[in-house]
Symmetry: D3
Subunit: 238 residues, 6 copies
Amino acid sequence: MRPSGRAPDELRPLSFEPGFTKHAEGSVLATFGDTKVLVTASVETNLPPWLRGKGKGWVTGEYGMLPRSTHTRGNREAARGKQGGRTVEIQRLIGRALRACIDLEKLGERQIVLDCDVIQADGGTRTTSISGAWVALRLAVDGLIEAGHLEEDPITDQVAAVSCGVYEGTPVLDLDYPEDSTAGSDGNFVLTASGNIVEAQVSAEGETFDQEALLRLMRLAEIGCKEIFAAQLKATGR
Amino acid sequence: MRPSGRAPDELRPLSFEPGFTKHAEGSVLATFGDTKVLVTASVETNLPPWLRGKGKGWVTGEYGMLPRSTHTRGNREAARGKQGGRTVEIQRLIGRALRACIDLEKLGERQIVLDCDVIQADGGTRTTSISGAWVALRLAVDGLIEAGHLEEDPITDQVAAVSCGVYEGTPVLDLDYPEDSTAGSDGNFVLTASGNIVEAQVSAEGETFDQEALLRLMRLAEIGCKEIFAAQLKATGR
Amino acid sequence: MRPSGRAPDELRPLSFEPGFTKHAEGSVLATFGDTKVLVTASVETNLPPWLRGKGKGWVTGEYGMLPRSTHTRGNREAARGKQGGRTVEIQRLIGRALRACIDLEKLGERQIVLDCDVIQADGGTRTTSISGAWVALRLAVDGLIEAGHLEEDPITDQVAAVSCGVYEGTPVLDLDYPEDSTAGSDGNFVLTASGNIVEAQVSAEGETFDQEALLRLMRLAEIGCKEIFAAQLKATGR
Amino acid sequence: MRPSGRAPDELRPLSFEPGFTKHAEGSVLATFGDTKVLVTASVETNLPPWLRGKGKGWVTGEYGMLPRSTHTRGNREAARGKQGGRTVEIQRLIGRALRACIDLEKLGERQIVLDCDVIQADGGTRTTSISGAWVALRLAVDGLIEAGHLEEDPITDQVAAVSCGVYEGTPVLDLDYPEDSTAGSDGNFVLTASGNIVEAQVSAEGETFDQEALLRLMRLAEIGCKEIFAAQLKATGR
Amino acid sequence: MRPSGRAPDELRPLSFEPGFTKHAEGSVLATFGDTKVLVTASVETNLPPWLRGKGKGWVTGEYGMLPRSTHTRGNREAARGKQGGRTVEIQRLIGRALRACIDLEKLGERQIVLDCDVIQADGGTRTTSISGAWVALRLAVDGLIEAGHLEEDPITDQVAAVSCGVYEGTPVLDLDYPEDSTAGSDGNFVLTASGNIVEAQVSAEGETFDQEALLRLMRLAEIGCKEIFAAQLKATGR
Amino acid sequence: MRPSGRAPDELRPLSFEPGFTKHAEGSVLATFGDTKVLVTASVETNLPPWLRGKGKGWVTGEYGMLPRSTHTRGNREAARGKQGGRTVEIQRLIGRALRACIDLEKLGERQIVLDCDVIQADGGTRTTSISGAWVALRLAVDGLIEAGHLEEDPITDQVAAVSCGVYEGTPVLDLDYPEDSTAGSDGNFVLTASGNIVEAQVSAEGETFDQEALLRLMRLAEIGCKEIFAAQLKATGR
């Protein structure tokens, strides 16, 4: 039995609240159970130096946790003077995931920065960030199209992410904090609506696992992402 | 005429939404018009080294803006590797303001950290932070009392803050961004419900001002803080 | 009775020693009692990036304390790897204060950096810095005019600063360290010779204060600044 | 055809040269083709603060590239003042991988730091680091046993890592730089000699991939790791 | 001919003004021509961790240049966030030089920090710092003896430093800035009053030099230090 | 008797292994006894800003120690976030030494970076770095000449370095770690094959020394460098 009483292949209640803040070109509050991440998409014309003049754009992600989004307060990374290893690892993943669903040449010479800030954490903040980031990106690109800045839609696919893991011997979908903190192994999957994989990553946290477990986690991720894809479409008015 | 159509002594619609996040001992979303600040109060038993063993506690503030809380995206301070001067100035002010309303000896050997994170900015983020911080502090202290950790209430007064400034020659209350960005001079006042001043600070931003202007801004602040005090009490169930 | 035996509205002996160092375009040793600050004005043609090509200049301040300018040695900020919050707060104030007395368009595309380095501290280092900075700025601008680099004088007013506070219940002018460290509330006022206010800032340090106290401190500041204005003029040969 | 002429399931020539440096408790030069990584294992009795007094030890990894280990010189991370995101990501992976093969309680209250420094890079530096780190760890633990510091062998399994990817449509084993820089997707697998998975991670770099591709990469990794396990044993005299 | 008209073996006018600031246990303004360095000696009971409980003390140096001590303004190291290589090199030299003249066991478990801050630079700031540091150290130790904190004088010798170099083919003593900036080679010598060498360092700056030149510079240094030793004694009332 | 049994004027066995790594324009493993330093020379067309457009090039050095190159593991400087004072001091020396043997105008607008990374330390890492750096520089410049990028050879002389010191009262050549850690005074000499001095630096480490000792160390350095010059020529095929 899962602590929450959910079935092994059951997501937490999820929602995407578009337009949560007003300044960003795209903005959404992504919620998976008690995990809440504010994602904004900012369109900038100022490309990083190494990309200038190449006729293409860039999509990148940044990630942060508010100091008291967690059970005990974490130090503010800005005050400590650097981002921790986990933060850096996650924001690299967010960028890779979202660049997999966009044609950077069609985007033109502009950069879209996806800021994922965790308001409240209860497991799965990186996958919630990615799933929300697709919504924010979609909204920002819709705005560029409506404003006539883009003739062709550069978004080529839909991307969502979910965590899975082996909890007390059973592979389960969408781990919350009580599960995540004791899981024997857990992973994060980034999938496309067209049925492909962008990133599959599973780590042993206490006990190693075998190929069959890997495949069962993979299948759970497919189940979960289908539901997320539907919610993303609804939130972006499709 | 103010851009918003408000009267010179009229606050923006304001609200304090207590319990906005679940982990912190005190938590509130403070809203003044389009300015939204999430304030959490974290109770820690780990005092800063210079205060240990002195039989008293500490209250401190930290402040941050989400990168896209503003019209154009600001760099993430954690990524730049340091907090900017404005951030540091504001968090020092938050700490001073809240320490003025609490008896640190009665608080005992614990620290309360008030994290003020700006979700959306439209002028007055530092005063919204302070006014919200009182609510979060009150809630956290209420929890300590209920849990039997404190016998006597250490909070000695109520503290609120508001900005005022001279906009197109007229002293006005609670500047929003369009006013703030063009005001000839502006200031921030931190007042107590008992009628005293904790901090009065007015700066010329383009043109100097005289004593009469200073007094009129002071009086506007008193009008504004009365309304804020009432909303704070309501949010904390008093 | 004040520890120094001064009357409540009496400044410490003050002096401005122009030309204290030889390389800077303007240089002065500003002394208020035992507080000694070396201020240099450096004229640079290299504007900060965000100001280039706009046909106007900039005036900015930097502030530092020598490690043993104080009773006990403070760590060298360069060795710690960052400037503390107090330092940052003070240098922002210095910049704002001096920009209030100069027409940046008349200054032309050049920057004047006012470095205020505390040689010996005994209270009031930030106000001594501002009062001295006006002298250094005046000397540097005089040099630009004499050299034919400026046709019109960009300095529009005279600026001085002084601290005031409530010491043992009595509002007093120009706090020295023994007063400053025990004052119930204290403030800093930046005034112009033409009778206006550039910055008024009063903080409760232990006990809150009321409007009447604020006004009395304001009036003390006016008394003190008159004397400072005269000394500034004398030091710059006017 | 692979640029090197290798078969799809063929590793590069590999070697582990134990005792490459003399001070470390364990030291090995791990070579996969032109990729050369010096790994040292340092045994320290000084545990990180959060682990002290818990009756168990810790194994951690650090990673660095010499500035000119690559085709064009990279900036020295020590000179830039921080480790890049890729470095941090890799050293977290190294630590996780090696902790999966050791019983930290049997290790006792000591820390083993695995320093992986890339002398020359030609693809696969992180997997070469992990495979070499097992050798260095094994040698260091052997030393502890020989010296009588450990009664029971804390190493519970053998760990190796290899990269695989889809190069021009074909899944291939152990990518070298020319393959790595153009692969459509690539991944890193950390496996145990007992047949389990410690970490499986595959990313789309240009084109997404499907489950079948994931499984084929997984199988290639198994083939590769068998050969690596044998070489590790030989290098450690087993 | 030297730009200053001095003879090759002639020092600039030099002075040590003891008690230049009031808080430090030892304080002196050391002047060599237009080079002015404020040196303070701070006695601390808080030893660096690696020296605690060993029954001996420590002497260390720190060095800084005020931003406008030089012809053109240098960036403030505290603002840049780190000390430059030259600064670090110089403060290591200052520490080594002064530790050569004191018995650290007789000093007891206390640290003396010698802060050397350059008020005005005109060549030779590091040697002026060292020569002044001996005065400040002597004054601080005298104070410890007078206060009864030390029974035996831990200072074992007198230390002074001077620069020498080959200017337009001629070895000269005590280079000023015009000489220093064009010298073919220059060096710094730290000597003891008892006739020994603490540090001898000569670098080619544009042309290499031979042994004979090295010896002539050495002899000039001996001449110069004799005069400095006398001035140091006079400043410390011996 | 020296711990190694060497005669006072006897170098350790030394070798220069050119081409140790394949990417750099020049690469050598320099070995003095158990001290091993990998030096690479990287030719870059991107000059530091202050040198651009002046028709000349630059040669600079960087230095690092692998964390476990020493008896006990040192913290990784990249992880600590800054290079230590000793590192900075050494890399400044490396740059100065190598610039003494090259005509920067003949080098043209390119920079050569000499990275000296200590693989194993047993005393004399800075002098081994300099001696090796000449080999790497020579190889890189030879490559530029062969490729037709340089018409004239910019290298004007040969440079080598060696340490000397007073060990148990006897001046000895090329100190190894057991000698270095107990020497009364020690120094580093950088000499040219044409018989001149680039840098002479001797420090008292425990006891001061006299002029005669300085001269004897100097003479030992000359003996040692002759052997090094020969080995350098051989390694570069001359």
